[in-house]
């Protein structure tokens, strides 16, 4: 079996080639089969590989090396894949959730003109993501890293006819580029310090190196992780990325790609352990991101935007855990989050699909009777996200809070971080059930409510025309719901970090506090939105409420601040460069100048050539005199 792991990324890549090159001729059905089958194959191999790793002793891994990929002087990058416990878990999640989302997409994208294109991109994404996860060195990982970035860009702008979609794609690409710069610099620094790109070498030597070197390397890598995993200050692209089709949001922007930053930290865990300063930064940024995104999620009206901010918030949780040195806990949350967030996104997609591409929650409501399946499944996802006791999110989130409270390492302001985490848990439960209340409870507002925003399609669909989505979309939801309910019982941290020492004391009380907070948030949201909507309106219209609401709904003006502080100055610089450097110096002086100079010189010189032989003879003599004079002068005569 260990000879087959190269097929894990290769199968989706072949699917991409076939779908991308021949998809137009093959027809939608064949495209869907190829797309799903390639991922299913990768999933099967992942499962068997994982079982092999799981059965064996700790610290075993499957490895396959395909020789040198880049060779230049001392520098050599091999094309090698490795499946150990960490990448095995990630491969399982990526291929498993990916497979479900592929199946879902066959129903969701039905009839779209770019059907084959969509599956080609999706398969390319799977291939890149699996290279990222299974790479045995950081340069190969960077290949996958850039590959998923590219696919993210392509899929956000999938409906490329809408300007907003395209600019969202570009925004994601550009913001990621900032992070990638940090990542690249980190790779260079790793080469300078470790003389190797292999994760095994880096991890083995991490403790022996200078701590300041480790600090800078980790800081740079964390910048890369921030970009990809949407942390402060680079999170702004993720909410806009919801412009893409919903399965894309579920797969790329919730379950897999955005967690690759966490995966990077976990992969290089010992290196980060050698840089406690960076870990403090990671934990702090994670906690702040979690809180900020939760606050923004309060007032969003787009069903997917709420989930997007929720994703940013949950990613913050993961970084909080990673910052505590509990990488396995972070990965645990990555896994459970992949389950319930994919479930939520796909559920939201089902709602959107049923409402004919209506995304505004103000035009929903009361859908639980018309969409009972979707409602039930969405509710499970919401409970898991809120951390309702015994769901997947409950265990992973409380593990994080527990680690933050009493856990590992010697990270600075642990009490504050724990407090922020707990507060965010409360907010999470609140905004999740605010959303459920708005979408599924109350009365239907789709037909009557006037057009809420410019982007949403003005269908004015009647409630009795709202239908459940097809079976191909429902089955993945059921599987994901089952995983969301039971995923918490997987003892992933103990599997990934066998030696991890999470103190047992306080664990039970932590779980109880987490459960209470979750239930409190859920209860508060349901009470306010279902029983006392007038009180809420009254609060919003009061002065402090107005301010809070505006801050939250305008996303704390972060986009505006970036616009003013970064984009405007860069724009002005670009204008200066354009007008001064490009127009004046290059165009006018160099391009036109050289042309004009040559022709002016030509006009001057053509007078020398009047066609008269005596003139030529005279110039001949002049030349002879000059040469003679110069020669004599040079000879020192």
């Amino acid at each position: 079996m260990d000879k087959l792991i190269f097929l894990i990324p290769l199968l989706p890549f072949l699917g991409f080639l076939v779908n991308g090159l021949l998809g137009r001729r093959l027809g939608d059905r064949a495209v869907a089969i190829i797309g799903c089958a390639s991922v299913a194959g990768a999933f099967a191999i992942s499962v068997s590989s994982f079982l092999q790793v799981y059965d064996a002793k700790p610290d075993t891994f499957l490895q396959q090396d395909f020789g040198a990929w880049i060779q230049a002087g001392d520098l050599s990058v091999s094309f090698g894949l490795v499946i150990d416990s960490l990448s095995g878990v990630m491969c399982l999640v990526v291929t498993g959730v990916g497979l479900l989302i592929h199946i879902y997409s066959t129903g969701y994208m039905k009839g779209d003109a770019g059907y084959y294109r969509f599956f080609a991109y999706l398969n390319l994404f799977m291939a890149s993501m699996l290279v990222l996860v299974a790479a045995d060195n950081i340069v190969l990982m960077f290949l996958g890293w850039e590959g998923v970035g590219l696919c993210s860009y392509l899929l956000i702008g999938f409906w490329y006819k809408g300007l907003a979609n395209c600019s969202a794609g570009i925004k994601a690409f550009v913001v990621n580029r900032i992070g990638d710069l940090g990542f690249l610099l980190g790779i260079f620094a790793i080469w300078a310090v470790f003389d190797s790109f292999k994760f095994s070498d880096i991890v083995a030597d991490a403790a022996t190196k200078d701590s300041s070197a480790a600090f800078w390397i980790c800081l740079l890598l964390f910048v890369g992780a921030c970009g990809k995993s949407a942390q402060i200050p680079l999170y702004v692209w993720l909410p806009d990325a919801m412009a893409g089709p919903t399965p894309v949001s579920a797969l790329i922007h919730a379950a897999t790609m955005v967690t690759s930053g966490v995966y990077l930290l976990a992969r290089l865990g010992p290196l980060f352990d050698a840089a406690p300063g960076v870990l403090t930064i990671v934990a702090t940024i994670g906690a702040l991101t979690a809180l900020l995104a939760a606050l923004i999620a309060f007032s969003q009206n787009d069903i997917k935007k709420v989930l997007a901010y929720s994703t940013v918030s949950q990613l913050g949780y993961m970084f909080l855990a990673a910052g505590m040195g509990a990488y396995s806990v972070a990965i645990f949350h990555v896994v459970t989050h992949a389950f319930f967030k994919a479930l939520l996104f796909l559920g939201a997609g089902a709602v959107i699909h049923s409402l004919h591409h209506e995304q505004d929650m103000r035009r929903m409501g009361g859908l639980r009777r018309r969409l009972p399946w979707t409602f039930a499944l969405y509710l499970i996802g919401g409970l898991a996200l809120s951390g309702f006791p015994l769901t997947a999110g409950f265990f992973s989130k409380d593990e994080i809070l527990h680690v933050a409270h009493s856990g590992l390492g010697n990270i600075g302001p642990r009490g504050v971080l724990w407090g922020i985490g707990l507060l965010t848990a409360l907010f999470t439960a609140f905004y999740t059930f605010r959303q459920i209340a708005l979408v599924f409870f109350g009365s239907y507002r789709g037909a009557s409510e006037p057009q809420a925003s410019e982007e949403s399609a003005a269908h004015g669909l009647e409630l009795d025309k709202v239908k459940e989505s097809p079976l191909s979309m429902r089955i993945p939801l059921i599987v994901l719901a089952a995983l969301s309910l039971t995923g918490g019982f997987l003892a992933i941290p103990h599997f990934l970090q066998p030696g991890i020492e999470i103190p047992e004391d306080g664990k039970i009380s932590g779980l109880i506090i987490g459960g209470i907070v979750s239930i409190a948030g859920i209860a508060a949201a349901l009470t306010i939105y279902l029983r006392f909507p007038q009180a809420l309106k009254g609060f919003i219209s009061s002065a402090p409420g107005k301010l809070a609401h505006r801050l939250s709904s305008r996303k704390f003006y972060v986009d505006e601040i970036y616009q003013k502080l970064i984009i405007r100055p860069i724009g002005i610089m670009a204008e200066i460069c354009f007008y001064v450097v490009d127009r004046l110096i290059i165009d006018i002086l160099l391009v036109h100048g050289s042309g004009f100079g040559a022709s002016a010189l030509g006009h001057l010189l053509r007078r020398l050539q009047d066609g008269r032989t005596p003139t030529y003879a005279a110039w001949f003599l002049a030349g002879a005199i000059v040469v003679l004079a110069v020669t004599l002068w040079a000879a020192g005569g």
Partner: protein, 192 residues
């Protein structure tokens, strides 16, 4: 005595040369050129080159001059055609250029270490024993047909080509031929 001959003949060379280039009528120029060639031949004699002196008279003073005079006669330029209408400024410029060239050449001769190393060596004085017969016909002949046979043959080819070229250029084509082969050539703008 030889040196004195050389000096006088040299001064006369300069004088006749100046007259050659300044006479308006090319016939005078041609006659003065013959004088110049004869004076040069005399100087060759002084410099122990008797063979060349004879050749100078035969080839330059004879063949080439006959060619010149023959062409002059052939063209038979009128008085008006002989008036060259050269602007004084141009003459001045040409004179300045020539003087400058002479000055530079003189400077070069003056500053050349190897020429100055010759110092006062008398070119009319005794010669090296090994070169006692240099310049004589026999010596030149032997050298020309053994040591320098290759340049000699090349020169003969050159002359052959020149003969063909001269014949081709001067051959009068029939009217019939001219019509078909000669392209329309731009007429000169100003015709004296």
């Amino acid at each position: 005595m030889d040196a004195l001959v050389f000096l006088i003949s040299g001064i006369l060379m300069i004088a006749s040369g100046l007259l050659v280039v300044t006479r308006k009528n090319p016939v005078y120029s041609a006659i003065l050129l013959v004088v110049f060639f004869l004076l040069t031949s005399l100087n060759f004699l002084v410099l122990r080159s008797p063979f060349l002196a004879v050749i100078q008279v035969l080839v330059y003073g004879g063949a080439i001059m006959v060619l010149f005079v023959f062409v002059l006669m052939l063209l038979n330029l009128t008085e008006e055609e002989l008036d060259e209408k050269v602007e004084p400024a141009r003459k001045l410029l040409a004179g300045a250029g020539s003087v400058l060239l002479f000055a530079l050449l003189a400077w070069a001769i003056h500053s050349s270490e190897r020429i100055q190393a010759a110092g006062d060596t008398d070119l009319t004085g005794p010669v090296n024993d090994s070169a006692a017969r240099a310049g004589e016909t026999r010596e030149i002949g032997q050298s020309l047909f053994s040591e320098h046979i290759l340049p000699f043959e090349f020169t003969s080819i050159l002359i052959f080509i020149a003969i063909i070229g001269a014949i081709y250029l001067t051959k009068t084509r029939s009217a019939n031929e001219r019509r078909t082969t000669e392209p329309a050539v731009e007429q000169p703008e100003e015709r004296a």
